[in-house]
Amino acid sequence: MELIIGAGFALVFLALGFLFGKMADQKHLADLAVREQSYQTMISTQSKHFLAPVPGKFAPTILSSETVIANDYFKRFLASFRSFFGGEIKSYNVLMERARRETILRILEQARAGGYNAICNLRLESADIGGNLSKQGMSIVCVLGTATAYHSGLDQAP
């Protein structure tokens, strides 16, 4: 009896994870695509040097942003299968990609809000926050980004 109840719960969780996880995924990716469109004219480089700076307009400043995204139950279930047989876990690729794109976008948004038109020295790193979460079987990815915003005289045609 207990086994049946346990299996029932697992099935409900799987269904919930599948439905909402897919929805969250697609919604976020669509949202990212729209927002990235409006920042295409912004010069964003990971170069350590300022490309065509306009000195004196505003002082350059450091910007930072972070994104923490959780994976859903269904994908985690599939991933546990995959880690038994080995190979690429595609759902985690997508998760990391979403977190990275979101982090970069947030930096660009901050830069534009501050009146800047370019960023350089963009650095991304992933962090392990909350050491006990992964032991509880939770999978969250955390991406931190930093960049320096400045004014560039470069013409970036849209």
């Binding site: 969780f13 000195p55 350059p60 450091i62 959780a70 994976n71 350089c120 050491g131 006990n132 979460l133």
Partner: protein, 110 residues
């Protein structure tokens, strides 16, 4: 201009020349999430999506670490901090450290 400290994660600042190096300045903070956020996180782990509470926590930690770094820079009499880096580490269960460090310098307009 007098009170403002330039903070960049590049080695130089365009339009300015570094005239004096004051040394490394640093700031750190260790923060824990409260249990409510952990519960919210475990729910989010079912359906997926962004954990806003954790993102906020990281933003706060970053601000705190940076402020502490800037205080040090001010004490040293610097007017800019260049080459700023951030690192995180999971110290104990449920808590993480944010550490900011950079080089305090004195810059002059060219």
């Amino acid at each position: 201009m007098e009170n403002q400290i330039f903070v960049v994660n590049t080695e130089t600042i365009p339009g300015f020349r570094i005239v004096q190096v004051k040394g490394i300045v640093q700031g750190n903070t260790v923060r824990a999430k409260h249990a409510g956020r952990d519960i919210a996180a475990s729910l989010k782990n079912l359906v997926g999506g962004e954990l806003k509470g954790y993102t906020e926590l990281l933003t706060e930690s970053r601000r705190e670490a940076m402020n502490r770094m800037l205080q040090q820079a001010q004490q040293l009499g610097a007017n800019a901090v260049v080459n700023v880096r951030f690192t995180t580490s999971a110290v104990t269960a449920g808590a993480s450290e944010m550490y900011a460090y950079g080089t305090a310098v004195v810059v002059q307009p060219e």
